[in-house]
């Protein structure tokens, strides 16, 4: 069978989702953000909820998420996305509302907002990209930075005495009664990305059932910040990040 026989529209099994815009992403080559954006666009498209979805993006690399997924967006101040989402969902309860936040945003300056949104059991989805670093500002230490990890503000490696310990905020949130579904995923391999997609779909579905907040952490790479090639960054993540941030479901109130 020759190539032209295969290259027919009816044989397409995978393509860029319709809800991803044609804007070229500003992310560095190999950045996990692009993959997660794609998955979110796929889930919204497959659920047929474009007209019912409002996204809220953070400050950080994904501040421009609104350029890439074809839905209505609000851009929040640093860390405050869960507050915007809270009001949006309460005022528009028939909508699907999600925030998309990095670890610098959610786990540092935005700890109060995320903890209380979880505690109140807001019926929203939170997608949390944890790459252990501040990407956009140039690779500074985040609360999630691993011990010993070099960043531009921990040039000799993170030292617990000086900088404290990595913050496992996802486990903290699972302890709160207002959360319904808490999971930690990654998108560095195809099976992992497929699992992450199922998790994000479940989170969106749960947010429509008035059972509380659904939270999907994606352990991610920041190859520019980590000073590694994209493939090497994925390997480094498997060997180091997953020890501190093990993958899998942490809480599911419907199970």
């Amino acid at each position: 069978m020759n190539i032209e026989d295969i290259r027919k529209p009816e044989n397409i099994v995978y393509r860029k989702p319709a809800l991803l815009t044609d804007n070229i992403m500003h992310y560095c080559p190999g950045c996990s953000h692009g993959t997660v954006h794609k998955i979110v666009a796929e889930v919204i498209g497959e659920m047929g909820i474009q007209e019912k979805t409002i996204g809220i993006c953070p400050v950080g690399c994904s501040v421009f998420a609104y350029n890439y997924i074809d839905i209505d967006w609000q851009e929040a101040a640093h860390g405050r996305a869960p507050a915007l989402a809270t009001a949006t969902k309460r005022l528009c309860p028939d909508k699907y509302v999600f925030t998309y936040q990095g670890d610098g945003d959610l786990a540092s300056i935005g700890t109060a907002e995320i903890i209380h949104a979880c505690s109140r059991g807001e019926n929203i989805v939170v997608i949390f990209i944890n790459n252990g670093i501040y990407g956009m500002t140039g690779g500074q230490m985040a609360p999630t930075t691993l011990l010993g990890m070099k960043t531009s503000t921990t040039p000799y490696g993170r030292d617990a005495k000086l900088n404290g310990f990595p913050l496992k905020i996802t486990e903290m949130l699972a302890a709160l009664d207002g959360t319904a579904y808490i999971t930690r995923q990654s998108v560095h391999t195809a099976p992992a990305a497929r699992k992450a997609k199922n998790a994000i779909r479940k989170a969106f579905e749960y947010s429509d059932r008035n059972i509380g907040l659904s939270f999907v952490e994606i352990v991610s790479t920041c190859n520019s910040g980590w000073k590694l090639s994209p493939v090497a960054a994925n390997k480094w993540m498997e060997e180091n990040m997953f020890k501190e941030y093990p993958l899998g479901d942490i809480k599911d109130v419907l199970k």
Partner: protein, 360 residues
């Protein structure tokens, strides 16, 4: 005939919000304005009008909830007092930058820092000149009675939506805590989804295939884009200064001396004017009702007529700088103020007036 009810200024804010079709209130307790949220919670408007009322974990969160609600084209508001307003200034700046309508009530107390819980007008510079970062203005309206508190909620939303800009109701502890008769108007319904789509076509209400996506943001990394946006904001503020100035005058027609005062101070000055008039001194009062836009022209006009102007404020002299700008050096401009929650009496104001004007 309209119903009259005795209530606190803070309660008037809450009752007015419910009766004027406000969609959401997000707040955090702080003296001297906690009655706003307490009244809302007691009234349970979510069971009647569907209004959302939520106690947030901080003022920072409150104002960002307001940002989220306003992004959806809803009429949303918050209230706080000075230290809490400082925390909200980041969010207000973002809202000005994203051109979002909202009403923020500041029931001022003494500062700086934790200060006192007694009344003050010390936030004038913060609220009228900006507050948060960047080149923006709040529209600022200053109530002087419980009735004003009631009326200014609706007026505030009218201005906020007309100009897509945050409106601050700059009240103080006296106005917030004082009980007065308030005339209650017939209730207004909340906006329907259809009305929101018409009135706020920019709102994030879910993107149908038929239109481009709506994006609420204050971010533009390109210098020229940002400058063009700032020019647009500036044009908006000029239009507001041109069209929306509101003030009241008391005994100014034949006045030889003028007081300027806003909020509770204007009422004390009215009494001082009466006392001075009883002594044969032709005093008058101009009360700016809008602080931004400020009644510069009216002050200029009166500065040509009177021998002097005195600005009376519960601070160390903040509005007086705008009064001086308005007076254009046509007459001397003086100031008298009290701080820390202390409030002048009309007698005290009259005495300071005589000192300033060398009248025995």
């Amino acid at each position: 005939m309209a119903e009259k009810v005795l209530m606190k200024g803070n309660e008037a804010i809450a009752i007015s919000a419910i009766r004027n079709g406000v969609d959401g209130y997000f707040g955090y307790p702080i003296t001297p304005q906690s009655e706003v949220m307490e009244t809302l919670m007691k009234e349970k408007p979510w069971e009647t009008t569907g209004m959302v009322v939520l106690q947030a974990e901080s003022e920072v969160s409150s104002i960002n909830m307001v940002y989220g609600g306003a992004s959806c084209g809803k009429k949303v508001m918050t209230s706080s007092s000075s230290p809490g307003i400082s925390l909200m200034c980041e969010g207000i700046s973002y809202m000005a930058g994203a051109e979002l309508p909202c009403v923020v009530v500041d029931v001022m107390r003494g500062g700086p820092g934790l200060g006192t819980i007694q009344p003050s007008q010390g936030d004038y510079n913060q609220i009228v000149k900006g507050g948060g970062h960047g080149d923006y203005h709040n529209i600022v309206i200053a109530p002087a009675s419980a009735q004003d508190m009631y009326d200014f909620v609706d007026w505030g939303f009218e201005l906020a939506f007309k100009y897509r800009n945050p409106v601050v109701v700059l009240a103080d502890g006296v106005i917030g805590q004082m009980m007065e008769k308030v005339e209650i108007h017939p209730p207004k319904p909340r906006m329907t989804d259809e009305e929101i789509r018409t009135k706020a076509p920019w709102a994030t209400v879910g993107k149908p295939a038929s239109r481009e996506r709506n994006i609420i943001t204050s971010l533009s990394l390109d210098s020229d884009t940002q400058e063009a946006f700032n020019r647009k904001l500036h044009a908006k503020y000029s239009e507001i200064q041109e069209k929306e100035v509101k003030f009241t005058e008391y005994m100014t027609e034949d006045a030889e001396y003028l007081f300027t005062a806003f909020g509770c101070s204007s009422r004390i000055c009215e009494a001082a004017v009466d006392m001075l008039r009883a002594e044969g001194i032709k005093a008058g009062l101009l009360r700016p009702v809008t602080l931004f836009p400020f009644p510069y022209k009216e002050i200029s006009r009166l500065a040509s007529q009177v021998k002097s102007i005195m600005s009376i404020e519960l601070n160390f002299g903040q509005m007086v700088e705008d009064v001086r700008l308005g007076a254009e050096n046509k007459c001397p401009v003086g100031f008298y103020g009290r701080q820390g929650g202390n409030i002048y009496t009309p007698e005290e104001v009259a005495e300071e007036f005589r000192k300033f004007n060398n009248i025995k």
